[in-house]
């Protein structure tokens, strides 16, 4: 993988508001991976127009015997804009590719995991984004 999210600031009473999700033992997850929410309270690595399942708080090595993963759900992270459109500070964003986000359209704002852009971003550049604020 590449383009993992980078922590700028973890927010909330418990920094980053971490919680545990299920994950397949065979899955390798680099720290900072944007995860997709799957059925049965499990996550997989993001790879498309996905529902947000948190940001991997630590690395998970494939076949390490672990079947759960802690994900961050609240903070300010550097996220990478996909190669689709620019976005402006204040826009709602959603997951749209492997570790990529894009400006939300009408369908995007209905998905779990609306992020708020805190900076303008050209295509394929990183920008600070507010995650899990509910704004």
């Amino acid at each position: 993988m590449a383009n993992e999210a980078v922590i700028i600031e973890l927010l909330g009473i418990v920094p980053g508001r971490p919680f545990r999700q299920g994950v397949a033992d065979a899955t390798a997850v680099p720290k900072g991976t944007i995860m997709e929410q799957a059925d049965d309270r499990k996550v997989t690595v993001s790879n498309g127009d996905d529902s947000f399942g948190g940001i991997a708080a630590h690395e998970k090595v494939a076949n390490d015997g672990s079947e759960s993963l802690t994900v961050y759900s609240h903070g300010i992270f550097d996220l990478k804009n996909a190669n689709l459109a620019t976005f402006q500070a204040g826009d709602h964003l959603d997951v749209n590719g492997a570790n990529l986000v894009t400006i939300s359209d009408a369908a995007g704002v209905l998905k779990p995991g609306r992020f708020v852009a805190l900076e303008n971003a050209e295509k394929l550049t990183f920008a600070a984004c507010l995650v899990g604020s509910g704004l």
Partner: protein, 135 residues
Amino acid sequence: MASEAVIIELLGNAGNPVRFTVADGTAVPKGTIMKITDPRSAVPSAANGDPFAGIASTEKVASDGSTTLALYTCGIFDMSAGDAESNDGLRMHIFGANILEECDAADLLVSTVGISLENMPSSGALGAVLVGCGW
């Protein structure tokens, strides 16, 4: 300014304050509803469609040397819908300087303020709004 938000109850980590950059020359009364600007900056709300950044947690005096301001992003606040009547249970967005309005579909594409907890009369009187709960 007028019609600043009034704290009813701070939720989360005492309002989940987030620090934004502000221009030193800007005066910001406590309770001002702030707009996100690039990069990770905030200015007082002024117009319909401004993306919501948060609510000023303290007063900032113009040219006091400070270039950051903590904004509340989670809590219940009394806010005004100006001269437009609004019902409870609706998503609200910035309509003007410290003034809210019910969201339509297009308004959901940028950061919104919160959910009205009571009817807001057209007199401009304040009504409670739930901010930053992710609903």
